[in-house]
Every structure is written in C-alpha cells, then in structure tokens.
C-alpha cells in the first residue's frame, strides 16, 4: 500500500507547516505546499495528486475557490479537495459551495478534524458515502486506486497491481505482486465498482485480474497467475473463458 499524495494550497507558512506536520504524522505524503493560485495549478498538473487541501483566502483573495473551480472544470483531472477557512461568511460559502462536491473545514482545527475532512472529501468525490465512518467497510474504489482506511489515516493501492482477490465472508484478501492485505468491503460492491472486463470472477470466492493470468488448466479447474499464484476455476464460472483472448 502507498501513501496518499496531498497537495496543500496555503499562503500562511505557520499554518501550512502545522498542517504538513499533522498529515505527515498520519502517513500522508505531502507533494508540495503552494502559496498562490499559479503555483498551485503548476504543482497540481506536475504531480500525481490524490487530495488537495485548499485555503479559501490566498493573499486576501478568494483564489482558493478559483483554483477549485479550475481543477473541477478540467474533466479527468479533478481530484477530491477540502476547503480551509477561518470565516463563516455566508457569501463566500455560497460561492464555495458551487464547487461540488463541497467539503470544508473551519480553522482552527485539530488533528481529528482534518483527517475526518480528508476522508469525507474522498467519500464525497467518489460518491461512496458512509464508508470510512461506519464499521462495515473501509475501502473506496476509484478507477485507479483502492483507498483504504488504516487506523486514523488513508492508504492507497494501485488496482492494476492486484493479481487476484480472495473473498472471505465480509473481508477481501488483496494479493498483489509485492504484498497481501485485507480490506473490509462486500463482494457485490467490489464487483460493481471494479472494471468488469478486467476483473473476472472465477469462483464463488475469487476475483482474478485477467491481465495477470499466465495459464489456464481447464482439466484441473486451475488458473495460474503471475507470481505463480494458483486460483480455482469453478464449473459455474467457466463462461469467462469465452471472454478471454486466447491463442489457438
């Protein structure tokens, strides 16, 4: 699992350093701290960012909102973000609210509040609410990553790295080339959110990344995957063979 990349847009050094410290302590990776609208945009496009923390007021202007509007306007590039503000001024809020999905955090804030706000922003952005707050689930699935709550912080895992997923009741074992970890998510949700053309169900308890298939042994009902992982192919799911591009 990897650290989540955060971009901080904040013009007050004391506040940005405090924020950086808190996030680092919770194993977030701070990609950079931008102090203006321009540098923020540069940093945003130059790095792989997962979440942006934006102070609404940059040098006295509500440039933070403009920044959020700008990244929201570029399709595919937009990312979850959280507004920071010390003002509850209604007019500012009304404008900020237009940048959906809208999450904000009032200054001053404590560690719990910022972590909570980041999790909320991710939930809202991927429209999978009540994942991190409840007890039933701990993972949000985007196109590219799994965002997994580990303790107080968030981790991510590249979906393309997954070799297969083994379901055990309400847990899912994620097996990648490098590691193996357990997440809390239902199988149905998993199947719904993963790309159906890539991840195939081979058994009641297995979901396989078709890219990682090395060999299929129908006689033994066996699929051999990268890293020499072996997965059962049950009779009920043999249909998937037709979907796979096979050499003849």
């Amino acid at each position: 699992m990897d650290h989540v990349n955060v971009l901080i847009v904040e013009d007050t050094p004391s506040e940005s350093s405090a924020l950086t410290a808190v996030l680092k302590a919770n194993s977030y990776n701070i990609v950079g701290v931008a102090t203006s609208f321009k540098t923020a945009l540069e940093m945003f496009y130059a790095n792989k960012i997962d979440i942006v923390v934006i102070d609404i007021f940059l040098n006295g202007n509500p440039d933070g909102i403009s920044f959020a509007e700008t990244i929201n306007a570029s399709p595919g590039a937009s990312k979850p973000f959280v507004f920071l503000t010390s003002s509850t001024d209604r007019q500012i809020f009304e404008r900020a609210k237009l940048t959906q999905p809208f999450s904000y955090l009032m200054k001053p804030f404590n560690e719990l509040e910022i972590l909570y706000a980041l999790e909320m922003a991710v939930e809202k952005f991927y429209t999978q609410t009540d994942v991190f707050l409840g007890d039933e689930e701990d993972t949000i699935i985007s196109k590219e990553y799994l965002f997994i709550k580990k303790g107080k912080s968030l981790k991510k895992a590249l979906i393309a790295d997954i070799i297969y997923i083994e379901v055990e009741e309400k847990y899912c074992n994620i097996i990648t080339e490098k590691e193996k970890f357990v997440i809390l998510i239902s199988l149905t949700k998993m199947l719904k959110l993963l790309d159906g053309s890539v991840f195939l169900r081979t058994h009641r308890n297995y979901i396989v990344n078709s890219e990682k298939i090395m060999e299929i042994v129908p006689a033994d009902n066996l699929i051999v995957l990268a890293g020499n992982h072996k997965v059962t192919l049950s009779e009920n799911y043999k249909d998937i063979l037709k979907k796979l591009p096979t050499l003849k």
């Binding site: 509850t88 001024d89 209604r90 500012i92 809020f93 009304e94 609210k97 009032m106 404590n110 560690e111 719990l112 509040e113 909570y116 707050l133 409840g134 007890d135």
Partner: protein, 588 residues
C-alpha cells in the same frame, strides 16, 4: 257640418251705366241645425267603428272624423290604408274620410283624388258625388258640377236622409244660373223654394229667395225679382245669421238704388253697413281673441320653458351635490384607512422600539461583562508573565513549566470566550453559513473532545464517548460543534478533580436523538437551572465566583440548538453533577 260656402256674384249694367254688385251667399245656413243633431252619416260611421273594433287605426280615424279633427283623421286613415287595404268597405270609408278632410282644408286636388279612389259600389256613393260636385263648384267647373249633382235629384227619399236635398237643388240652380241657362235654373230654384217652405227651413229659404230673386233680376224681370228680395229681407230679420242679413240687406239696397229710391237705398245701405260692421267687429273680436290666445299660449310656453330650465338647473344642482357628497365620503374613507394603517404601524414601531431597547440594554450588559472578564484574563496573564520573567532570570525551570501551563489555561479560556462572542455576533446578524446535513454524532464528539483531552488529563477527569457510530442526526456541523464545545467546556469547568465526564445518546424517542453530556461535578440549584433555561434572561448570576462565566456560552447553545430545530434541557443535582441534554432530529 256641411260648411259649404259659395259666392255668387252678378254684374249688371244698370240704366245709369253704373255697376252694382249683388252678392248672394249660399250655404252655411245648415250649420247650426246640424250641430244640434248628429248627422246620419256620422251615426253610420260610428256603427262601422263599433263593428270593426279590431282595426284600431280605422277606429281612431272614424272617431277623429266625428270629432272634426281633420289632421288626425288624415294620419290614422293613412295608417289604416297602409295596414288593411284588402277590406274594401273600410277602405272606402277611409278614402272618404281623407277626401272630406282634404276638402275642408281646401286641398281640392287631393280631395278629388281620394274621392275617385272610392269604389262605385260604395253605399254612400251619392254623398261622394255631392262632395265632388261641391268641389267642382268651388273650382267654377259648373258643367261638371251639374254632371255630378243632376243624378242626385232622382235619389230615393231613403238616401236623401243622408244629405240636404235643398243643397243639391240650390247648387244645381246656381250652376245653371252661372251657365246662363235660366230656365233650368228657375226650375231648380223654385223647386228649392218650395222644398224649403215645406221643411220650414228659414235660413235655406232666405238663401233660396235670394237666389231666385237674383235669377229674375238677372233676367230683368224686376217685378218678379223684387218681391223675392223683399221676402228674403223680411225673413232675414228673423234669423240670427249676420251674413244672411247682410247679403239680404245689400241686395235690397242695390234694388232700391236701381229703382232710384235713394232714400230707401240709403236706409238699406246703412243697415248693410251695420251688419257689415258687426261682422267686422265679430271678426275683429275673433282676431283679438285669437291674438290674445296666442299671446297667452306664448306666455304659458315661456312659463313652461322657464320652469323646465329651473328644473334642469335644480337637477344639475342636486346631481352636483350628490357627486360631491360621494367624493367627500370616499375621501373620508381613504383618510380613515390610511390613518388606521398609520396607527397600526406606529404600534408596531413602538413595540419594536421597546424590544430593541431591551436588546440594547442586554447587549450593553454583555459587553461590560465580557470586557471585564477579558480584562481579568489579560491582567492575570500580565502578572503571570512578570513572574515567568522573574523565574526565567533565576533559572527556576520547574516553576516555569507550571506558569506556562497556567498561562495556556488562561489563554484557552479567553479564546473560548472570544470565539463564543464571535459566533454570537454572527448568529445575531445571520451572516454565518448554515447548512443542515446528516451528521454522525460519534465523530463530531470525538473531534470536539480531542481539543479538551489535555485539559481533562490535567484535571484528571475521566472522559468517555459512548455514542454509537450509527447515531445520525440532522444538524449544521459548525453550530453543533460550538454547542458541544461549550457543553464540554462547562462540564470540565464544573468538574472536580478525579471526576468523570460521559457523552452518550439516548434513543427513547423515534424522531429525536438525545445527546447527553454528563459530569460528576458541582451541579446546580433548581433556580439556577430554571434561570439557565429561561430565554429572556441572557446572563445568569455567577454562582461560582472563582470560575469565569458570562452565561453567554449556554445562551449561544440554546440559540444554536433552536436554529437546528432541536431541544435543550438540563438535569442537575447540587453536589452530584449535571446532565446537559441536546435533542436533535434524527436522519430518516
């Protein structure tokens, strides 16, 4: 009824080569007698009218005919003819009415036209013929008149009841006289005299004598003529008709003049003049009466028009009064309405002013207390800092730690006060962002409590958050946090060392979730509790002198909870602890 005037004049050359005019008047003499008894024809008309009541126009025409109202007769007979031509008998009558009316009005051409329209089968065709004869005599068409009148001499006595036989004969005689056919004239006139003698019609007799006398006089048969003239003159003395007297007297005068008996002639002349004058007088009287009548009518007309004008003026005046009254009433109504409105607004303004005054007083009080508290805080910080500096000089590091902890506590207290003050102000001006969303209570409590962990640790207060992660309420996140912050702050403030604070939820109600902040602290009296819950009193008295408090925090809590459509209550026991209960609507 039969007003038939025929002027007959003859010119006779006398021996003395001078012209004398002898005028003889025929007709008119029947008038008085006819007036007395209705003519038979009129009765006949009356019968017709009664018989055909349905023809209203005919009825009216007939009635007007009987009443001698010629203009109206013309109008209604015309209406009748336009409406009901097909009834030949009635049409004949109608044409007769019209012809006769025109004749009376001396419109002879029109009259003749109408008479000719009458069918020959008409029961009273002979009367029509007589009328036509009279008309042509008026036009001096004597031959034609004879053609009309001659057949009438052979009428049955039954038909003669409807017209004067003497008139027919007289007229025929006169016609022949004009045509110089003296034989025939003599025959008719003598017959006429006889007839009049028989009927004892004095007036007719005078005319008849006059006519026959003139005939003989014309024939120079003076011996025969003069006795007739004299007879006529004698008879005329007994009648009242001035015209007849006048003509008879004039005739006598002319006769005597021709006989050269000037003395007698002069007497007759004078008598003639007398009758002439009386006639003239009568005429003058008529004229004067007529003028007087016209004048009177004019006067009346003037009076009437004056009254009309007066009436008009009165009506205008009355209308004017009415309208102005209406306008005034309207104005009054409008004024009353606005006056009432003004009173209403005034009352509202007064109430608002009182309210504002009260609020302002509260604000002033709040202001003084807040500044007093802040002043004490800053003062404490100042003295503490002075001690801090002293200790720093003497390198007493152990004391430094304690002092800094103290300072931080003071600053925290002051910060919380300022924060509440800010939120209070924002709430009053409604400038703050407020959005009710679904919130998980557990995390909100965790986040708020996080800030107080060091404080509780220091005071050695046990803290427990047993709110379920499943408790979801509808509230505005920031205001809920402010409420919790204040409640927790109070709980810590009033907790004794080694006490405990618990936050948990009660799900006894279906629509509301009760969040309880419970401490094992000082508690409060019932009066204090009620005072805290009271809406109108902003500031509570300080029960615990050494603890900073304005009551602003709780007041803010109450307002925020109200804005979140929640409820607030306190349960407390002096010395044992307090439960602050916030009820918020559950997310459905």
């Amino acid at each position: 009824m039969d007003i038939f005037v025929f002027m007959y004049s003859i010119f006779r050359k006398t021996i003395i080569n001078s012209f004398y005019l002898v005028s003889i008047l025929f007709g008119g003499f029947l008038y008085s007698q006819e007036q007395e008894k209705k003519s038979l024809f009129d009765i006949e008309v009356q019968n017709k009218v009664n018989q055909y009541k349905a023809y209203s126009n005919f009825k009216k025409a007939g009635m007007f005919y009987i009443e001698n109202n010629w203009d109206s007769t013309l109008v209604y007979s015309m209406h009748h003819l336009n409406e009901a031509k097909q009834h030949v008998d009635l049409a004949n009558y109608a044409h007769y009415f019209r012809g006769y009316s025109f004749k009376v009005k001396k419109l002879y051409q029109e009259a003749k036209k109408e008479f000719h329209l009458i069918a020959p089968e008409f029961q009273f065709d002979f009367i029509v013929k007589k009328r036509l004869g009279e008309i042509v005599i008026e036009e001096n068409e004597f031959k034609q008149a004879i053609a009309y009148l001659e057949p009438l001499t052979k009428l049955s006595s039954e038909n003669y009841r409807y017209l004067k036989k003497s008139e027919v004969f007289q007229n025929l005689g006169v016609c022949y006289l004009h045509l110089k056919e003296f034989d025939k004239a003599e025959q008719y006139l003598i017959e006429n005299v006889d007839f009049n003698k028989k009927t004892k019609d004095t007036l007719g007799l005078v005319a008849a004598y006059g006519a026959i006398a003139n005939l003989y006089y014309e024939l120079y048969k003076d011996d025969l003529a003069i006795p007739y003239f004299e007879k006529a003159y004698q008879l005329s003395k007994h009648i009242k008709k001035t015209d007849s007297k006048r003509i008879a007297t004039l005739n006598m005068a002319v006769v005597e003049e021709n006989r050269k008996d000037f003395e007698k002639a002069l007497t007759y002349r004078k008598e003639y003049e007398k009758w002439n004058d009386s006639l003239n007088d009568q005429n003058k009287i008529y004229e004067v009466a007529k003028i007087e009548k016209e004048f009177a009518v004019k006067e009346k007309q003037k009076e009437v028009s004056l009254l009309q004008a007066e009436n008009k003026a009165k009506v205008i005046e009355r209308n004017g009064l009415f309208y102005s009254a209406v306008v005034l009433l309207l104005l009054l109504g409008v004024t009353m309405y606005f006056y009432k409105e003004k009173i209403k607004t005034n009352r509202i303004i007064v109430a608002q002013k009182e309210n504002l005054d009260e609020l302002n007083a509260t604000k002033d009080k709040l202001f003084s207390i807040v500044s007093h508290d802040l002043r004490s805080s800053v003062n404490a910080l100042k003295t503490s800092n002075a001690t801090l500096l002293d200790n720093l000089e003497s390198r007493n590091l152990v004391a430094l730690d304690g002092l800094l902890q103290n300072n931080s506590a003071i600053v925290n207290g002051a910060y919380n006060l300022l924060d509440n003050l800010l939120h209070w102000a924002l709430l009053q001006t409604k400038q703050s962002y407020f959005e009710i969303t679904s919130l998980r209570l557990f995390f909100i409590v965790e986040q708020v409590a996080y800030n107080y962990k060091p404080l509780m640790l220091e005071k050695n207060v046990q803290f427990e958050n047993t709110v379920s992660k499943k408790d979801v309420v509808l509230a505005d996140q920031e205001s809920l946090k402010i409420v919790l912050r204040n409640l927790l702050d109070n709980a810590i403030k009033f907790s004794k060392a080694n006490g405990s604070i618990k936050i948990y939820t009660l799900n006894t109600n279906e629509t509301y979730c009760d969040l309880v902040v419970e401490d094992s602290g000082l508690g409060m009296s019932e009066t204090a509790r009620l005072e805290l819950l009271n809406d109108t009193v902003l500031l509570s008295k300080k029960e615990h002198e050494n603890i900073i408090g304005t009551g602003l925090g709780l007041q803010l809590c109450k307002s925020m909870i109200k804005k979140n459509k929640g409820k607030f209550s306190i349960e407390s026991e002096l010395g044992k602890g307090t439960k602050m209960i916030v009820s918020l609507p559950k997310t459905t």
